[in-house]
Structures are given as structure tokens and as C-alpha cells.
């Protein structure tokens, strides 16, 4: 046989063997799946399952979860994968309840394998209708850039409006998914979560955070936490005879109800989180964590290079520490190109790029603060390290702080794992309080952080490991001043100009939306904003003044035309609310379960000046009103001077975060504002 033939033959043989191995693997898998299928058995259905009805609920549900049993098996080493099994039994009570027999298998992880799905319907007379493979559908829900996300769904056969449906889903996972969302959209009567974990001291490779915790604390333990379960019965049973198994249970879990203005509902639903970490109390865990990362920062980010030292000399003669901080902060904002927010094609920053001589950038973090200065551009936390470095080089106690965007999640201090998604800088003062700075986030004054960090917990370098809440900014910092100067014509048409001065977080929103946009495009956001605010108006000739890349006031202006006012005989009934920003009361429910979360505290001051025609006169105005409670303030004042009707409305929200106990007060404030929307000014035409 020639060499060439031998090579071809060899390659063919390899190919054939490969194919055979692959086929063999598939056959083995199918066999395993059949075995798994045979191993699973349905639990008996009792008469008490049939007796369950919706009568005991305030709103009768369409279906009830009789039980849900989750098994998480970290020990099942099946081709390197972990196993999770979910078994649920539902009592279907109405026609609409049958839709609960259409199940989307939850996407717990992109890498998950839905290894087995079984389901059946059981009728009152004992008839059992098993689901067939034809009822299961796998589809690719997203396909992009070579990646695919698949989803499995199924519809259980034979369901009626008075039956039991149950299903079992077995997952194989690359990494453990150890949470259980207990609270569904329908009631759950009983639930159990069994966790088979590895012997302590062993954990799967690849979980770097776990390795770090073990290195820090010497050992790992199983940890668990119930969240959002107030008023719901739970139990935890470690199986003594088998120290590697823990069982958790719940009973009588009410359905989840969405409410407006809350944190993301993934944190509100009752749930169980299990994980591996140290058994030491959270205070010890966080204390050690802070020591660990303080040491890291000291090692990596405390040798201030020559560039840093040279730079700070220009501020050394400033009188106060605050002046030095402000100067360093301004420097970082103005003299370092922030690639987190701005790309290199941004035409509004071409001068800045020229001045900083930035042509190309490296797609990686800098080695240290000195290198950031050298590069003159930075990503993310590099800006914080630089700012911190500058302050420390001037002897100011600046520290890195980690936090979390509260519009996306919350830090739960009892969970002994890293939970942060934001980095800021905390400057300590003599009285052990902190002022926070956000060098990564543009368009903020020194000492102001983005609204989504306000009220969140921060975890600070070189501290005692206790979480420090980031202060909330005052409502006066987020002040909006709207002035409408309108004219009512003899033909009862209303038009004029509106000017709005915005400060604080709202001004920042304008600037953030304008990033990368030219003037005309930046005004599109303003146009939409005014159209939303003045819902009845036609908006034209929009303008915006204010430094594009600054922190100060932004003034927005536009021309407005409103619909004609309505006449009643020779009276014209004017509703001032029609000419001011549209408001609504979202708090219409009688009760509230969850805390109330607004974006930020703010104050809105509005003045409407309506010039009446000579042929008209104000006959009466509503009484001035003022309402105030701890939540905020709402006041309206009417003045008539000659042919000008002036209406002033002020609304203040003192703080953005309120507990459910404060709901009645929140509701009253918003009802007070709602009352204004019904006010009518009576104008007489052709008065005697």
C-alpha cells in the first residue's frame, strides 16, 4: 500500500470510528434516558388532592399547585454534569386553568440540557392520560453569531377543567442552579426542595469564587436563605444520617401579585437560595472579604507612579481637602476618555480626543492607575482606581466601594457571595461617614452618584466589612422648573411657549440620551419628553440649552398648541391640569404588600400663566390647596391679576424608598395630586 493510500485509509478509519463512537454515545444516552424514565414513578394521588378547591381563596384561582418537589443533586456526576429534577402536581379547577398544562421549561442556564420530561393528566374517574413525545416541542428560540438558545415546551394531553396534571422535568447542568422560586402566579400548597451536596471539602472545579472562599476560610459549608417569605411557613431539615442531604419545605404559599413601583420582581417572589460558602456568620464573611480585597488593592494599586505624583502637585496648594477632591474628580472627568460611555466615533468629543491624542485603544484594563494616566483613556473601574490613586497621593482617605444597581437587583448581606455590579469611590471623613463619588459615570457633580446607586448598600475597602447605605440625594437637587406662558384667544384657542429648567438626575438623563447624537438627534429625545409630559399639546420648535458634557442646568423650550377649550353657554371651563405636566395616580389598590420604590427624590415646580382675551374674565378659581406628609408635599395656588390667570403647582417627593407600612401615606399624597386634575377655573365671556 502506498503512503498516500495508507493515510487515506487511516483517515477513513478514524472517521468511521468517530462516527461509530458518536452513534454509540447516542445509543448509550437513549438507553440511559429510558432507564431514567423507568426509574421515575408518579406519587399516589389521594382523595384529599381531589378535595382541593379554590373556595378558601379571596380570588378563586384557576389552578393550584398541590405540591412541587425539587431535587438538586450536586453529587450526580453524569458525564461531568449536575442534576436537577422538578416534579409538580397541579389541580386544575376551571377552563382557564387548563392553560397551566402548557409548560415552558424554564431556562435556568444557557448550557442546560433538558434530559427528560414526563407528564400526565389524571381524571376524576382514575383515567390516566400520559403525555407523548408528540406533545413536547424543542425549538431554537434565538440563533445569532453561531450561538443557539434552545427551549423546550410541552402541552399535557387530556386536560379538563376538573383534573390533576403533573409533570417531571430533569435537567443536566454544567454548574449548579440552587435556587427555588417558590412563589408562583397561582397558590402553592406544599413544596419541598432536597439538596444532595458534595462532601464538604470537595467542590467542582471552575467555580473561582468558591475556590477563593475556601482559600480564605479553610472550609465550605452548605448555606441557605429564604427571601420574600414573610408570613409563609417554611422548614429546614438537615438529614442527620446523611450529612450530605438537606430538605427544605414550605406550605400555603399565596400567589404573587405584581404591584407598581417596586424592585424587580425576581427579588420579590418568595424563594429559597442554597449555595456553598463559609459557615461563619455574614459579618465574619464580609469582614474577611474586605480584608482580602483591601490587601489586593494595597498590593496592586498603592504604588503611585511618577505620573500620579507629578499630577497631584498642581493641587497640593488648594486650601481644603474638598477642593482637592473636586479638582481630581474634574480632572478624571475632563482629561480621561471614558470608554465605558463614549466610543471613539463620537463626533461631539472629537476635540477632546484630539487634545488627548487618542487614536487607538487597547481592549483591556490598565495595569494600574499610573498606566491609566499614561493612556489617557479608561474602562469601568480603572477610572475609580485612578481617582482613588490621585486622592490617596494627596493624603485623602479614598477607598474603592462596590455596590449594586437597585433597578436591577439588591444586595442581600446574608448571602455570603459576591453580588455587586457597580464600583464607586468612598471618601472617609473624620466622623466615619462617607461621601461617595462615581468617576465612571459622567455628568454628575462631585459627591453625587447615579440615582440607581442611591439607597443601595455599599461595601467599602479598608472598612469593618459592614455595609454602608449610599445616601439619598435631596429633592432640591433634582429640581424641575416648568413655566408655561399661554394665550387664550377670542376663538378659544390656546397656545404659547413652555420653558423647562431641569437639574440633577433629569438633566443627566438628557445628556446620557444625547451621547453620540448630533444636535438634531439630541432634540428628538427632548421632543418625545415634552410630548409625554404635555400629553394634550402639539409640540414644535424644540430647543435645548446647556452644556452637552457638563453637570449643570439644562433648559428646554418649545412652542405648544393645545386643543380648544370647551364652552358652556357663555362660560369657559378651563382645567389648568391640561396645560401642565400630565400626572396619574398609580396607587389605586386598596392594599400593598411590597415596599415602594421611586427612582429618586424630586421637586417639580410649575407655573402656568394664561393670558385671557379682553372679552373674558375669571369668575372663580378653586381654593388653594396644600397637602403635606412625610412622603412629600403637593400644593396649588391660584392668582388672578388683570387678564392673567396664574396657577402654581408644586409637587415634592421627599425620598424614593418607602416601606409597605407607609403605603397609606404614599396613596394620600398621590391622591392629593390627583385632585388637582379635577380643578376647574370658570371664565365668563363678555362679562357685564
Amino acid at each position: 500500500m502506498s503512503n498516500r493510500s495508507a493515510i487515506v485509509t487511516f483517515l477513513l478509519a478514524v472517521l468511521l470510528v468517530g462516527m461509530a463512537t458518536d452513534a454509540d454515545g447516542r445509543r448509550r444516552r437513549k438507553t440511559e434516558q429510558r432507564k431514567a424514565r423507568d426509574q421515575f414513578s408518579w406519587m399516589d394521588i389521594s382523595e384529599s388532592d381531589w378535595q382541593v378547591s379554590g373556595d378558601t381563596f379571596t380570588v378563586a384561582p384557576d389552578a393550584i399547585v398541590l405540591f412541587e418537589n425539587i431535587t438538586v443533586n450536586d453529587t450526580a456526576d453524569i458525564q461531568g454534569k449536575m442534576q436537577r429534577v422538578e416534579y409538580a402536581r397541579l389541580r386544575i379547577l376551571t377552563d382557564a386553568g387548563r392553560d397551566w398544562a402548557n409548560v415552558e421549561v424554564p431556562l435556568l442556564s444557557i448550557d442546560q440540557e433538558v434530559y427528560d420530561v414526563q407528564a400526565r393528566t389524571v381524571l376524576r374517574d382514575g383515567t390516566v392520560i400520559p403525555m407523548t413525545l408528540d406533545d413536547i416541542h424543542d425549538q431554537t428560540v434565538v440563533r445569532a453569531a453561531g450561538a443557539r438558545v434552545k427551549q423546550t415546551s410541552f402541552s399535557v394531553s387530556g386536560t379538563t377543567s376538573d383534573c390533576i396534571v403533573e409533570y417531571m422535568i430533569e435537567y443536566r447542568l454544567d454548574s449548579p442552579i440552587r435556587y427555588w422560586v417558590v412563589q408562583k402566579d397561582i397558590p402553592l400548597l406544599k413544596g419541598e426542595y432536597t439538596w444532595y451536596h458534595l462532601p464538604l471539602g470537595r467542590q467542582r472545579s471552575g467555580d473561582m469564587q468558591l475556590s477563593a472562599i475556601r482559600a480564605l476560610f479553610g472550609s465550605l459549608d452548605t448555606e441557605d436563605l429564604w427571601l420574600g417569605m414573610e408570613g409563609i411557613r417554611t422548614f429546614t431539615v438537615p438529614m442527620k444520617e446523611d450529612s450530605q442531604t438537606t430538605v427544605f419545605g414550605v406550605s400555603d404559599v399565596p400567589p404573587f401579585e405584581e404591584e407598581p413601583f417596586t424592585i424587580v420582581d425576581t427579588y420579590l417572589r418568595g424563594q429559597l437560595i442554597t449555595y456553598l460558602s463559609t459557615s461563619r456568620p455574614p459579618e465574619i464573611f464580609w469582614g474577611k472579604q474586605v480584608q482580602f480585597f483591601t490587601k489586593y488593592l494595597e498590593k496592586k494599586h498603592s504604588d503611585f507612579g511618577s505620573k500620579i505624583k507629578d499630577l497631584v502637585t498642581r493641587w497640593v496648594d488648594l486650601e481644603t481637602d474638598q477642593e482637592k477632591i473636586d479638582a481630581a474628580y474634574t480632572y478624571v472627568q475632563d482629561s480621561i476618555y471614558n470608554l465605558t460611555y463614549f466610543d471613539l466615533e463620537d463626533s461631539t468629543l472629537s476635540e477632546k480626543r484630539e487634545a488627548l491624542k487618542i487614536r487607538r485603544v487597547k481592549d483591556e484594563y490598565a495595569e494600574d492607575a499610573n498606566e491609566v494616566l499614561k493612556r489617557r483613556y479608561a474602562y469601568d473601574h480603572d477610572l475609580c482606581y485612578l481617582f482613588r490613586g490621585l486622592l490617596k497621593a494627596m493624603g485623602i482617605d479614598a477607598r474603592i466601594a462596590f455596590t449594586r444597581d437597585r433597578s436591577e437587583g439588591v444586595v442581600v448581606r446574608q448571602i455570603k457571595r459576591y453580588q455587586f455590579d457597580g464600583t464607586i469611590v468612598a471618601v472617609a471623613s473624620a466622623d466615619s461617614t462617607y461621601t461617595f463619588y462615581a468617576p465612571i459615570d459622567p455628568y454628575l457633580e462631585p459627591g453625587v452618584v447615579p440615582w440607581y446607586y442611591e439607597g443601595a448598600l455599599s461595601f467599602i475597602e479598608a472598612s469593618d466589612g459592614k455595609f454602608v447605605p449610599i445616601p439619598l440625594s435631596d429633592s432640591k437637587r433634582n429640581l424641575t422648573h416648568l413655566m408655561s406662558q399661554l394665550t387664550l384667544t377670542e376663538d378659544l384657542e390656546v397656545s404659547g411657549v413652555v420653558k423647562e429648567r431641569i437639574l440633577g438626575q433629569e438633566a443627566r438623563s438628557y445628556r446620557l440620551n444625547a451621547i453620540g447624537e448630533d444636535e438634531a438627534e439630541a432634540l428628538e429625545w427632548v421632543q418625545e419628553r415634552m410630548e409625554d409630559a404635555l400629553a394634550n399639546a402639539e409640540i414644535s420648535s424644540v430647543t435645548a440649552d446647556g452644556e452637552r458634557h457638563g453637570t449643570g442646568q439644562v433648559t428646554i423650550g418649545c412652542d405648544v398648541t393645545f386643543p380648544d377649550v370647551t364652552e358652556q353657554g357663555n362660560l369657559v371651563l378651563i382645567k389648568p391640569a391640561d396645560y401642565l405636566t400630565a400626572t396619574y395616580n398609580p396607587f389605586t389598590a386598596a392594599e400593598r404588600r411590597h415596599g415602594i420604590l421611586f427612582s429618586y427624590a424630586y421637586e417639580m415646580r410649575e407655573i402656568l400663566q394664561l393670558q385671557l382675551p379682553d372679552s373674558a374674565a375669571v369668575e372663580s378659581v378653586p381654593a388653594d390647596t396644600v397637602f403635606a406628609n412625610k412622603i412629600g408635599r403637593c400644593g396649588v395656588q391660584y392668582t388672578v391679576m388683570g387678564q392673567t390667570l396664574s396657577v402654581q403647582r408644586v409637587f415634592t417627593l421627599n425620598y424614593p424608598l418607602w416601606s409597605s407600612d407607609d403605603y397609606a401615606d404614599v396613596q394620600k399624597l398621590f391622591q392629593a395630586r390627583q385632585e388637582f386634575s379635577n380643578h376647574v377655573v370658570v371664565v365668563r365671556q363678555n362679562p357685564v
Binding site: V142, S157, G158, S620
Partner: protein, 650 residues
């Protein structure tokens, strides 16, 4: 040296790739260079073209070209390719180019494409994905161009050639050409602009138009499907009797019998169920009613439109076994049960979304199947006449809330096609009249001496509204409905409380009654009080600006009648003064009226709004403005109250 030079050139080429913009895109850019689009336009289509070629097998290839200039950041979404993908509908050879306003040219890569399943909710399964391809975030001044092919095969219905001349953005040049196999014919339909040039040369039919202006969105404009210019070409082979697109509805109907009649087979389990349902029933009418109710209620809706599942019904025995199915499955099952009881029926094609167009016969026009019955006296005696046309009664087993004798509201005013080997033609269902969809709101509101309001309210639905409401009462919890009313009224009233809530039905009505308490809608005005006559409904109405130039015809909304009667019982010592003027305006079948009277110390205000559901020409705009203004006046009616004897105070 030459090798060195070649190496340098190669290195430069690799570092600075040049994406050659195709000639057709350059031509389109040049042609549109001088066009000044409307100031509100977000994008300008420089070219929209489709060249379609159909083969005898029914397969077709459509070559698409598109060039778009982005005018604002909102226009970015117009600069993308969005196409459905299906095993029978593939996108091939997709190429794209971007000429940014500043920066270097870009070429579309695989990373710029994503396909997402169209149905991701359990209970709706299909194999359609939506392909989106484009250049990320586009800015004003960027120009993008795309070229790709749509390959269709399978059922002949896939060979329908649709073409949208324009969505709402302006178009410089739109063109569609269709090449048919020899001997084939076609019908063209849609909303074709009057300035479209239609040509036919040597087997190629083409439609070409230039400079389609921006289409603004205006209040009270007709539905978009009636506004946007579009074309669809329905080709057919006159020599093929099995074609689902043909010259006449008779042929189309006959072609569907194989698909929809052949599955009507009485399996033993079907026979057994039919016997059970009809047991003890004497007349055909009773049997039809029993079978219809059972299929409608007991088979839940799950759509499995994967592969042939999109057009072929499942065997009735399968639907029975799984207890779920889509419209085709439920219709087939019902027909099998009827057949088992020796009752004749037909499959009937229907359309839920959009209009059936008589001039372009084809199954592509339908998206739903219902049952046609050949009623005898026993059935006709039992049911209301709202689903009867000529000698047939129609029934939709898929709609859970519409009983026998009624049809879902969306089917009225459209065409149905009974499926039959013999003569068949489109059957037109009458349009609903406003009186078919009436809502009455009645309230007796007592104002106490502190101006708190205690109201007893009845919300009454009659006719077709009652049918939908009655079904809703059966399937939703009363407490849930009470909470819904309370939260709805909280948008108009301050902190209302809804109690004593009850639901009722009778043969042609469904109504709720409840008590509502809240602070009264009263404001002090000097020594008088101002009472909002109707505080229960939002008075927000989209206004029409009289001085605006109107682009579209006027459509106030679908047909309905709403009557409101509110009786205010005033505290002792108060009276109405003066009585407000009545409002009464009619326009083209629409009515808005408001009348106040003051019998025996009370104030009674009656409102009525009637909407005919018609589209009126835009030269009626001034009258439409007046009408909308009258509606607004009526909704905002305020009434003055004064003390009997004229004393001030409350």
C-alpha cells in the same frame, strides 16, 4: 521587487478592506440625492424592489433589494432586514452594505444577523423564526443597502407574491416584477397607488412607482392595513384543477376539500362520544347544540403549526385524545362528531385579521376555519339568528365565548368561503350595527351634606356585548372583577370603594351592579358649587386640530352604542342653576348627545354616543373636528349647583 510590491499591496488591502458598493445601490443613492423628505420622516427609502420568478412546481424566488437613508435615530429600525423564516421560506445570499455619514464603509457579516422564534409561549408552537439583520445603531445620514433572495416552496399558497410599496416612510422608487411560467395567469390585488405604472412584456408583469410621500400618523385615521400601499399577486395555472389559487372561488373551494374534508372520518371513539353526547336528544338541533358546546368547551386551544401542522388538521381521534387543538383540529373534530350523528356540515374558511378581497381568489386570504351547518327547523328555532346567512348557520368552535347562534365580532363584515366540491362562492357576513354592540351605564348618585358620593351603579351589556360578557362571568372570579372596577374608577375618582358587587345574566343581557363610594366630584365656585356631571369615565379624547391639513380619511372607531344615565340626588337645600345646554350633534351616522333635566330636586344627565364604524372622506374633516369637540364638551360637562334661596355656604 514586484513580489515586495505585491506584498505591500496585499498588506494594505488586508488592513483597509474596501467593500465595493454595488452599482444598483450607487444608482439609487444618486437618484435620491436631491429629494427633500418630509420633516417628520425618520427614513427615506431610496429603493424598494422585488423581482419574483415563479416555477411550475410552485417554487418561487424573489430577489429583494432595498436602500434606505436614515434621517433620524428613530429611523434606525427602518434600516434593518426583517423577514420570517420557515422550512418552506428561506432567505439566501443576504448581503448588506453601510455607508455611514462619517467613517468607513461596512459590510454585513454573520454577526449582524439574529433569528428569533416567532412563538415562544407554551401552547403556540410553530417553526417560524424572524430574521433580523442590520448594522447596529444607525444615525442620521447613514445609508444602508441590502440584497437577498427569498426561496419559497411547498404548498402553492407560498407562491403568493406580496409587495409593500411603502410603510409610513417616504419612498423614492418602488418596483415589483413577476415572471410566471408559460400559460399561467395571475390576479393582482391590494391597495395600489393610482400613480403606479403597470407594464406587461413577454411574460413579465411589473409595477413601478416613484416618490411616494411620507404617511403621517393622525388621530382617528383608518387602520393601517387600509392605508399602506401594497400589492399581492396571486398566480395560478388555469389547467390545474387542484390549485389553491385560481380564477374563481369555486375552484379554490373545491381544492380545499382534500385537506379539510378527507379527515372527516368517524373512528370508533368518535362514534362513541357522539352517541354519548346525543343520548336522549330527539332533534338535530339539540344534537348540534350539544356537540358544539362540547367541542367548544372541552378542547382547549393549543396551536401546533410545525411542518404540515400549519395547514393540515390532525386526525379527530388525536384531537379527542389530547383534548387540545387549533381551529382546524376543533372544526374537524366537531364535523366528525356531527357526521357520527348523521348531521351534515361543511368546513368554512374565514379571516380573523384583515379583509377578504373578492377579486383575488385564493386560500392565502384566510387564517381561520369554522363550521358551516345546514340547519333544519329544530336548530333554527333554538338559536338567535346572528350567525345565519342564506340557508346556513355558521359556528366557531375555537372561540370560547361565542355560543351557537352568534359569531365572533371580528368575523362580521368579512367573507367566508364554504369548502365544497360543488358550487361554492364567498359568503358575506353583514357588518355589525352600532345597536348590535350596546353598553348602558346607569348610576343613582346621592350626595350627602359633606359632598360625599354614594352611588348605585348598573353596567349593562346587550346583544353581542352581552354574549362576550356572559362568557367572561363564567370564567373569571367575581372578586377579581370587583377589584378591576375599583382600580379602574380610582383613575377618575379619589379613593373609591366598590362593594355589594354582583353579576347577572338573562337571555340577551349581562350586567353588573355595585355600590361605589368616594368623595363627590364637587368644587366650590364662589357661593356655588360645580359638579362634574359624569365623573365615572375618562374625558380624555384625542383632539382634532381644525387648522391642520388632513392627510387621511376619518375613522372614529368600530361600531358601538354607549348610553349613560346618571341621576344625582342632591342634598336638601340645593338645586341646579342654571340647567346646562344640551349637546346634540350628528355626523355621518355618528351621534353624540348630552341632556340634563332636573326633576323633583334631582339632576338627571343622559349621554349617548354612537359610532357607525365607517370611514369618512377627509373633506369632512371640519365636520369631524366639530363632532369630536362636541363629544369632548359632553364628556366634560359640569353643572352649577346653588342653594335654594340663594344663601352662600355649603
Amino acid at each position: 521587487m514586484s513580489i515586495l510590491l505585491l506584498g505591500v499591496i496585499l498588506a494594505v488591502a488586508l488592513c483597509f478592506p474596501v467593500y465595493a458598493i454595488p452599482g444598483w445601490m450607487k444608482d439609487a443613492i444618486e437618484s435620491g440625492a436631491a429629494i427633500e423628505p418630509h420633516e417628520d420622516a425618520s427614513a427615506l427609502y431610496l429603493l424598494r424592489s422585488t423581482d419574483a420568478e415563479l416555477k411550475e412546481s410552485g417554487e418561487s424566488v424573489q430577489k429583494i433589494r432595498m436602500v434606505v437613508k436614515i434621517l433620524s435615530s428613530d429611523g434606525s429600525l427602518y434600516g434593518k432586514v426583517n423577514e420570517p423564516l420557515h422550512p418552506n421560506r428561506q432567505i439566501k445570499n443576504l448581503k448588506g452594505w453601510c455607508l455611514p455619514a462619517s467613517g468607513s464603509e461596512l459590510k454585513l457579516s454573520r454577526d449582524d444577523m439574529v433569528s428569533v422564534a416567532s412563538a415562544t409561549t407554551a401552547g403556540f408552537y410553530d417553526d417560524v423564526r424572524n430574521l433580523t439583520a442590520g448594522f447596529g445603531y444607525l444615525k442620521a445620514g447613514d445609508i444602508v443597502g441590502y440584497e437577498y433572495e427569498i426561496h419559497k416552496q411547498g404548498s402553492l399558497s407560498w407562491s403568493i407574491i406580496p409587495f409593500v410599496f411603502q410603510d409610513d416612510q417616504p419612498v423614492v422608487h418602488a418596483e415589483c416584477s413577476v415572471v410566471l411560467p408559460e400559460g399561467w395567469k395571475m390576479r393582482a390585488g391590494g391597495r395600489i397607488p393610482s400613480n403606479v405604472a403597470v407594464t406587461q412584456t413577454a411574460g413579465t408583469n411589473s409595477w413601478r412607482v416613484f416618490n411616494l410621500p411620507y404617511i403621517p400618523m393622525e388621530p382617528y385615521m383608518p387602520p393601517l392595513r387600509l392605508v399602506l400601499p401594497h400589492l399581492f399577486v396571486v398566480p395560478y395555472d388555469p389547467s390545474d384543477p387542484s390549485a389553491t389559487s385560481a380564477n374563481d372561488w369555486r375552484t379554490v373551494s373545491a381544492s380545499e376539500t382534500r385537506l379539510l374534508d378527507s379527515p372527516v372520518v368517524v373512528a370508533p371513539e368518535i362514534q362513541a362520544l357522539s352517541n354519548q353526547l346525543c343520548s336522549g336528544l330527539d332533534t338535530d338541533g339539540e344534537k348540534v347544540a350539544a356537540i358544539a358546546a362540547w367541542v367548544q368547551k372541552e378542547i382547549r386551544y393549543v396551536a401546533v403549526a410545525i411542518g404540515d401542522g400549519g395547514i393540515c388538521p390532525r386526525p379527530a381521534a388525536t384531537t379527542l385524545g389530547t383534548r387540545y387543538g387549533d381551529c382546524k383540529d376543533k372544526t374537524t373534530l366537531m364535523r366528525c362528531l356531527l357526521a357520527a350523528a348523521d348531521i351534515r356540515s361543511q368546513a368554512v374558511l374565514a379571516r380573523v385579521e384583515g379583509d377578504v378581497i373578492d377579486s383575488t381568489p385564493g386560500t392565502h386570504q384566510f387564517d381561520h376555519v369554522i363550521v358551516g351547518l345546514f340547519p333544519d327547523e329544530s336548530l333554527l328555532r333554538m338559536i338567535p339568528p346572528y350567525a345565519s346567512v342564506s340557508d346556513r348557520v355558521y359556528f366557531d368552535p375555537t372561540d370560547p365565548s361565542t355560543p351557537l347562534g352568534h359569531l365572533p365580532v371580528s368575523l362580521y363584515g368579512t367573507g367566508l368561503l364554504p369548502v365544497s366540491e360543488q358550487d361554492s362562492a364567498l359568503v358575506w357576513l353583514p357588518h355589525l350595527e352600532p345597536e348590535d354592540w350596546p353598553l348602558e351605564f346607569r348610576a343613582v348618585c346621592t350626595l350627602d351634606s359633606t359632598w360625599g358620593m354614594d352611588a348605585r351603579i348598573t353596567v349593562l351589556r346587550r346583544g353581542r356585548r352581552a354574549v362576550a360578557a356572559a362568557s367572561d362571568y363564567e370564567t373569571t372570579d367575581a372578586e377579581e372583577t370587583r377589584k378591576w372596577y375599583q382600580e379602574s374608577y380610582a383613575e377618575q375618582l379619589i379613593g373609591p370603594s366598590v362593594t355589594d358587587f354582583a353579576r347577572h345574566t338573562d337571555s340577551d343581557s349581562a350586567w353588573v351592579t355595585f355600590r361605589l363610594q368616594s368623595p363627590g366630584p364637587v368644587q366650590k365656585v364662589g357661593d356655588r358649587l360645580l359638579l362634574k356631571a359624569n365623573p365615572f369615565f375618562s374625558e380624555d379624547m384625542v383632539p382634532l386640530k381644525r387648522s391642520a391639513r388632513r392627510y387621511h380619511h376619518i375613522y372614529l372607531g368600530s361600531q358601538a352604542t354607549e348610553r349613560t344615565e346618571i341621576k344625582w340626588v342632591l342634598p336638601a337645600g340645593w338645586k341646579v342653576a342654571p340647567m346646562p345646554d344640551s349637546v346634540n350633534r350628528e355626523w355621518k351616522g355618528a351621534l353624540t348627545s348630552c341632556r340634563a333635566t332636573s326633576p323633583g330636586g334631582t339632576l338627571v344627565v343622559e349621554f349617548e354616543n354612537r359610532y357607525p364604524g365607517t370611514i369618512e372622506p377627509r373633506d369632512e374633516y371640519e365636520n369631524a373636528c366639530d363632532f369630536v369637540r362636541s363629544m369632548s364638551s359632553a364628556a366634560r360637562l359640569q353643572v352649577f349647583l346653588e342653594r335654594v334661596g340663594g344663601d352662600s355656604g355649603e
